[in-house]
């Protein structure tokens, strides 16, 4: 990987000037902290907008998106560099198929990461979902659980939630802020339950939530930046949240062999082996031997022997 030439982040040019400035500032901040590489992993259910978000952030359509072809078939890594800073974003297929979490997809993601990221770290996890989905159900918990099982609970120190389709008009006469806070609250609760973060630990795992609107119809402000219904331009907002996580002091998830293969199944419960052997000897074998001896002693010889 060292010898490969990474593409220049040309897409940043096509953002409006105000956005470009903010992005360049954020990259400079990262460089000041001696971070010159950032690896971002994007995961979530299918059809929520992972590929579109990546396209929006990079600024060019790098990952194919089709409204009906349902989703990215396999994980894809997109690398861009600018002024010495390299950003790798990994797009993944949706984890849900037909009502349950698709293990094949998880395995394909892990083997992909194993090939390209061996001994490297994942700095940020983007968990993507839609803002305009109204119910959080067991399926979301299972997705979160699958991510936690694959990468370990520590990944949630470096994770953020991204809500797509942010440009909506809220139902039930709620204001946008109310709707957003309710939705993010229910989703965060689901994430905490799925990752088994206890109530005491919640402060440690502060997971930020960012809003994203990827369609071409996104409203723009006077500087021609794409904005949310609240008026904030969302591209710098998301990148800002990403940089905050990257600089939050907790180490990234090191991707090594152990992580891919998972815990050795043979090690499980090794401690119990001597206990079980002892139990068998004292409570099963000895009584049976005693009983056999007893039977042999009691045997009456038949008269014809």
């Amino acid at each position: 990987m060292a010898g490969q030439l990474v593409k220049e982040w040309a897409g940043i040019q096509q953002f409006p000037a105000a956005t470009q400035e903010k992005l360049v500032d954020l990259l400079a901040k990262l460089k000041n902290q001696n971070v010159d590489k950032l690896t971002i992993l994007v995961m979530g259910k299918g059809g929520v907008g992972k590929s579109s978000t990546i396209n929006s952030i990079i600024g060019e359509p790098v990952v194919t998106v089709s409204a009906f072809q349902s989703e990215t078939p396999r994980p894809v890594m997109v690398s861009r560099s600018r002024a010495g800073f390299t950003m790798n974003i990994i797009d993944t297929p949706g984890l849900v198929e037909g009502g349950y979490v698709n293990d094949q997809v998880l395995d394909s993601i892990k083997s992909f990461l194993g090939r390209f990221l061996m001994m490297k770290t994942i700095d940020v996890l983007l968990y993507v979902d839609r803002l305009d989905a109204y119910r959080v159900d067991d399926l979301d918990k299972q997705v979160v659980k699958a991510i936690t099982d694959s990468f370990g609970k520590e990944i949630w120190h470096k994770a953020m939630v991204v809500l797509t389709h942010a440009q909506l008009s809220p139902p039930d006469a709620l204001t946008y802020e109310e709707f957003f806070s309710k939705r993010s609250e229910s989703l965060l609760k689901c994430v905490r339950q799925g990752a088994r973060i206890s109530k005491k630990d919640v402060q440690n795992f502060a997971i930020p939530v960012a809003l994203v609107e990827n369609s071409g119809r996104c409203n723009k402000n006077e500087h021609d930046e794409k904005i949310l219904p609240t008026g904030t331009p969302w591209i710098p907002n998301v990148v800002h949240a990403i940089t905050n996580i990257a600089l939050n002091g907790k180490g990234g998830i090191l991707f090594d062999k152990k992580l891919i293969e998972g815990p050795n199944a043979n090690d499980r419960g090794k401690l119990f082996i001597p206990l079980i052997l002892a139990f068998q000897y004292f409570f099963v074998i000895r009584p049976i031997q005693k009983q056999i001896r007893y039977d042999v002693a009691r045997e009456t010889k038949p008269s014809w022997a």
């Binding site: 299918g46 059809g47 349902s70 989703e71 198929e97 009502g99 119910r135 709620l174």
Partner: protein, 524 residues
């Protein structure tokens, strides 16, 4: 495979181009009907006065033409068989059909639709066709003309907008709606729309995850009980238009619904897509898709799933209705919410509901069933085709093997299909024998219950890497009438360890043998 999708797309486009003005996709039964019945009567003596006066009174001017052609068609029949010779029963049927037609015209009038409307003319064609099939026995007694009632059942996933749709249909807030809390139990909502008493059953939403299946089963079984108690006329299956990106995820849910509520439910159901005014997403060229294309593709996806479930390769077009419940959506001067094409969705939906109810009332036999029966007729051809397997997570379609099918006759009268499937790497080979026989009983006339399966015989042998697995299953269903039905089912199955399975069989056989023939030797 590509041809099939192209063909479907073409036929769908054709329908779309016909219906762009209506914004709906139609009942497909009409294609089976010979509507020439109506035109045949043109040369007959045109005498509107011979008909019941009530019909002419409630018609508009163009409706009058159509109505009078019907009446003249009827007058032909009456001319052929003099009035006195018509049996009591046939007279009652004619009366009944007439009443149904009158009711339908009245409904049309109230909704402000002309009978020349596509759907309306299909329905009326069907009603006209009935007159030529006087031999069909109608089971129901005389219907009341004034007390028009309609029962609806609304089901769908959770959070799609079922309760909101019900509120919109009634025009007022009849049931609580909450963006974040699901509604928890089956509610019966009664109201009057345009003078017609409508009863709607709102159900809690179905969940998508596998773990929640027991909850789904509970919900569906309570819905089933409700359906038995008061069978609905129309079933609304509600889903969102804008989140349908991966249809495969819905298949288990649809399967569950079909298994609980019966596959005949789809014949009186309407697919309702909420959030219908949501803006379509961007297409591959970066520009937003047109609304018609978007709607057509989303709805076709669900239709295909249902078709697969019912095992019908032919077109089954479930009528589609678009719904928009957002309070801020565009409205017309009557206060009705409009769709993208400027139409009021509410009257469309009500119209579809009434049409379905009218059709079901006259117990039209579904021509789809006839098609299935025809398929089983013996055609002696050997069919060879490649088998494609698509890996969903990969989105690749792999050539997986060869399938050879042959149809033949068993015992001279039962149709059977033998198929052999050989995998590409020659490691797996499947032999299958499938034979089934359907009878149709035409004397019951209840909607969708005419099919009685007489027997199915299935044999299957799988050989994989030199190991064999076999299975035989015999099902015999004998349906006597709607209530009594017998079922015999024999299933045997062996797996890889054929010897072990066979060994298990021996003690059982021995025990049976001893029991039957008694013990020959004394006790030890």
């Amino acid at each position: 495979m590509v041809d099939e999708t192209e063909r479907e797309w073409n036929s769908m486009n054709l329908r779309n181009s016909m219906n762009l003005s209506d914004g709906e996709i139609l009942l497909d039964y009409a294609q089976e009907i010979d509507c020439r019945i109506v035109t045949d009567s043109d040369d007959s003596a045109f005498n509107p006065k011979s008909v019941d006066g009530a019909e002419n009174v409630s018609l508009e001017s163009n409706a009058a033409d159509l109505g009078s052609t019907f009446s003249s068609a009827r007058s032909i029949i009456e001319a052929r068989t003099p009035e006195e010779a018509l049996s009591e029963r046939e007279k009652k049927q004619l009366e009944k059909t007439k009443q149904i037609r009158v009711k339908y015209f009245r409904l049309l009038h109230r909704l402000g639709r002309s009978p020349e409307d596509f759907v309306a003319s299909e329905v009326l064609c069907q009603l006209a066709r009935l007159k030529h099939f006087i031999s069909i026995l109608l089971k129901k007694a005389a219907m009341e003309l004034e007390a028009q009632r309609k029962d609806d059942l609304v089901i769908g996933k959770t959070g799609v907008g079922k309760s909101a749709t019900i509120n919109s249909i009634f025009g007022e807030s009849k049931t609580a709606v909450n963006a974040f809390e699901p509604s928890t139990r089956v509610k019966e909502i009664i109201g009057k729309i345009d003078g017609v008493k409508v009863k709607v059953f709102d159900t809690p939403g179905l969940r998508n995850s596998l773990k929640d299946q027991p909850k789904n089963c509970k919900i569906l079984s309570s819905v089933k009980k409700l359906m038995k108690k008061s069978p609905p006329d129309v079933i609304l299956y509600v889903d969102r238009l804008d989140t349908q990106s991966d249809n495969v995820n819905d298949l288990p849910l649809l399967k569950l619904v079909t298994s609980y509520l019966g596959s005949s439910m789809w014949r009186k159901s309407i697919l309702a897509f909420t959030h219908a005014t949501s803006v379509p997403p961007d297409g591959p060229d970066g520009y937003p898709l047109s609304c018609e294309v978007f709607i057509a593709q989303q709805s076709e996806g669900v239709q295909q799933l249902i078709r697969e479930l019912l095992g019908l390769n032919d077109d089954l077009m479930i009528p589609i209705s678009l719904v928009e419940n957002h309070p801020l959506a565009k409205k017309n001067e009557n206060g009705e919410t409009l769709l993208h094409n400027g139409e009021s969705w509410r009257s469309n939906l009500l119209f579809l509901c009434y049409s379905i109810k009218t059709l079901s009332e006259v117990n039209i036999q579904n021509p789809l069933e006839q098609r299935k029966f025809v398929d089983l007729q013996i055609r002696s051809q050997l069919l060879t085709r490649p088998v494609f397997e698509s890996h969903d997570w990969d989105r690749d379609i792999d050539y997986d093997g060869v399938l050879i099918e042959d149809k033949l006759e068993i015992a001279g009268c039962f149709p059977a299909v033998i198929s052999v499937q050989l995998a590409k790497d020659k490691r797996e080979c499947n032999f299958q024998l499938h034979s089934s026989f359907l009878t149709k009983r035409e004397d019951h006339g209840t909607f969708g219950k005419n099919k009685k399966l007489s027997y199915i015989l299935k044999g299957e042998t799988k050989i994989r890497k030199n190991k064999a697995a076999a299975g035989v299953s015999i099902n015999v269903n004998a349906g006597l009438n709607n209530k009594l039905s017998g079922k015999i089912s024999i299933k045997t199955n062996c797996s890889d360890q054929l010897q072990i399975a066979a060994m298990a069989f021996l003690p059982i056989a021995r025990a049976m043998f001893i029991k039957i023939f008694g013990q020959s030797s004394g006790d030890y």
